[in-house]
Amino acid sequence: MAEDMMMTGAEMVLRALAEHGVKHVFGYPGGAVLPIYDEFFQQDKVKHILVRHEQGATHMAEGYARSTGLCGVALATSGPGATNCVTGLMDALADSIPMVLLTGQVPTHLIGSDAFQECDTVGITRPCTKQNWLVKDVNDLARIMHEAFYVAMTGRPGPVVVDIPKDVQFAKGTYTPKTGVIVKSYQPKTQPDMASVEAAVALMATAKKPLFYTGGGVINSGPRASKLLREFVELTGIPITSTLMGLGAYPASGKEWLGMLGMHGTYEANMAMHDCDVMINVGARFDDRITGRLDAFAPNSKKIHIDIDPSSINKVVRVAVPVIADVAAALEAMIASWKKHKHTLDHKALSSWKAEIGKWKSVDSLKYRSNKDVIMPQYAIERLFALTKDMDTYITTEVGQHQMWAAQFYRFEEPNRWMTSGGLGTMGYGLPAAVGVQAAHPKSLVIDIAGDASVQMTIQEFSTAIQYKLPIKIFILNNQYMGMVRQWQQLLHGNRLSESYSEALPDFVKLAEAYGGVGLRCEKPGELDDAIKAMIASPHPVIFDCRVANLANCFPMIPSGKAHNEMLLGADVSDEEVGSAIDAKGKALV
């Protein structure tokens, strides 16, 4: 018994991965992780997926985690391997995605000597991880591996790093199983305090203009949270909007759905936020893309805030009733309390509130000028949705205009189907994230809605998709611009388009073929459906070059420094209004 617990550090890593049910690791070898790679070679429980750049590994792990609810795992060597992971770690921290990154380190006796491929990995990754460890003794390794998974997955999820010097990977020690792992100083609270639940429900019952504002916390809490959210909306009849990260928790076809809110949210969602009297924030964090101008944010509302992280409470916006708990636990308790007290809302007030919302809806803020000759980007997403909605589909995106159009026009019915970089806004996230999603769901249709600029940041991971026969579809809305940069230059900088034109774009069809995949191009609205069908039908990884109107902009928009009721609407906005929408103070904001 004790005999089979004696093993090398590298063996412990694989043993711990298997013990935590890890099926896929995204990684790239190098000198300081060779012992771990040698163990990969000699087992078949954990599949290794070889990436082309370590940043790709981290985004794959994120896509994997977000689409499965499991922990994503990435592996990199010391020095440049570790530093290449920083973007992915910060991305996962900003969006609360559970990820364990294992890095190799130079042998302990060389640490601090500026050795080849040495860097202070725990120092560099400290501000972009929830926790990190440098393992100096092989007998601590198993415990730290278990703690790493525990910390990444529990409470508010996030990325962690375990940095393992090469001599520790070779050294023999005792493996301790994961049973009973606790970190004494870390005990996240998941069950709500009943007094706060009662106070929240009592406040809801007084509402005349209530609104649910939901976020990524609902997704992170698991499918049960989405189920309970739907039940609560059904029970109360309260309208609901969501952040970018929370799309899919409540179905877009649901009758209380107002669409996404925030900078590029719908008119009805933002106006409802501005005018509501009781706001129920479920797992969102009052991000600046949501609130706009803080002193004009929902000025007449009392706010309830459900969040698992106490530091989110009153960080940006002061709330009347905080409920510190896991979303599912909080919703379950609130529904039970609502039923127990036989609460109902003032029906008359609620129906006049909905009538008001109906008027805002009739503005049809997502409308755009359609065009017979040129593919409008909005139209492309609409057709993509129409042709894929009945399939088992997962969507990832890069960052920019295409991301906002995807959020506006692709209608999500279920949680965990939408992977996007919200908090950090990482261009280059979507392609590797799609690879990670496809690895977890080999039979599903996985589409990266991309832009021509973003996609080039991690295009090399297309080669990973080819190698592992992961038939991802890269649907590029190609307008030959960094569209969102250009849009802001038009808004803020007198239409001086400094460096935002995508000069020297590759031929994406040939590029796909060069990698060994399928390339498709479409330039005419009339040919779009057939081209999308061909993309879906292909059993191979596809790059779809969808040539869209070059100068289309993303509306509606709350210009920076403005309030929810000061939106720019799309179809009828003049160039002059665009040019003068943001005042001097707003220009300083991001």
Partner: protein, 186 residues
């Protein structure tokens, strides 16, 4: 950074109402593991909070527990946010805002080197006696005084030593503890 401008530290800070900035003394009990100090300092640096004083030492060797005393300044919401950010750290057991709880002791140790001759030397010794400072080193033309007390007492002693030939000062920073039976949880 922007923390002084608006409680939120959000991108949309707006300088409208000015909240009062106060000094708070926080006590933090954390695991004594590598990186804890760096993580705590990184939090203050990264989020633009102030550190007026920071002391740390292992307090319970068997349990591997360290105790930090951090003196910071900020508006009430900023200090509440600092406390929440410290509490969410994986290796932090508990955080107390001693200023908010009221009724606590804060002490600091200083070593103060003074050089001088004649009347100035006599006057320095006389003042040291009044402040209950001990002479821990002496030469024919210098003294090192050791002094403990509240930070403002030390400030006052140092300012009195300036005209008498102050050479240099080393201060430990504040250690603080609440009065009465209550203790922080580990």
């Amino acid at each position: 950074m922007n923390a002084h401008k608006e409680a939120s530290g959000s991108a949309y800070f707006i300088d409208t109402k000015k909240l009062e900035v106060n000094t708070h003394t926080l006590a933090v009990v954390a695991e004594n593991q590598p990186g804890v100090l760096a993580r705590i300092i990184g939090l203050f640096a990264g989020r633009g909070y102030n550190i007026d004083s920071l002391t740390v030492s292992e307090t319970e060797h068997e349990k591997h527990v360290s105790r930090f005393t951090i003196v910071t300044s900020g508006t009430a919401p900023v200090v509440a946010q600092i406390k929440a950010q410290l509490e969410r750290m994986v290796l932090v057991h508990s955080v107390a805002d001693l200023t908010l709880q009221g009724n606590f002791l804060a002490r600091e140790l200083a070593m103060v080197k003074v050089s001088g001759e004649g009347d100035k030397r006599v006057e320095a010794l006389r003042l040291a006696d009044a402040f209950r400072a001990r002479v821990v080193d002496a030469s024919t033309d210098s003294f090192v005084f050791e002094l403990t007390g509240k930070p403002d007492k030390i400030d006052q002693f140092i300012s009195l030593m300036v005209p008498l030939g102050l050479v240099e000062v080393s201060r430990t920073g504040v250690a603080a503890i609440s009065r009465g039976l209550e203790a922080m949880k580990v």
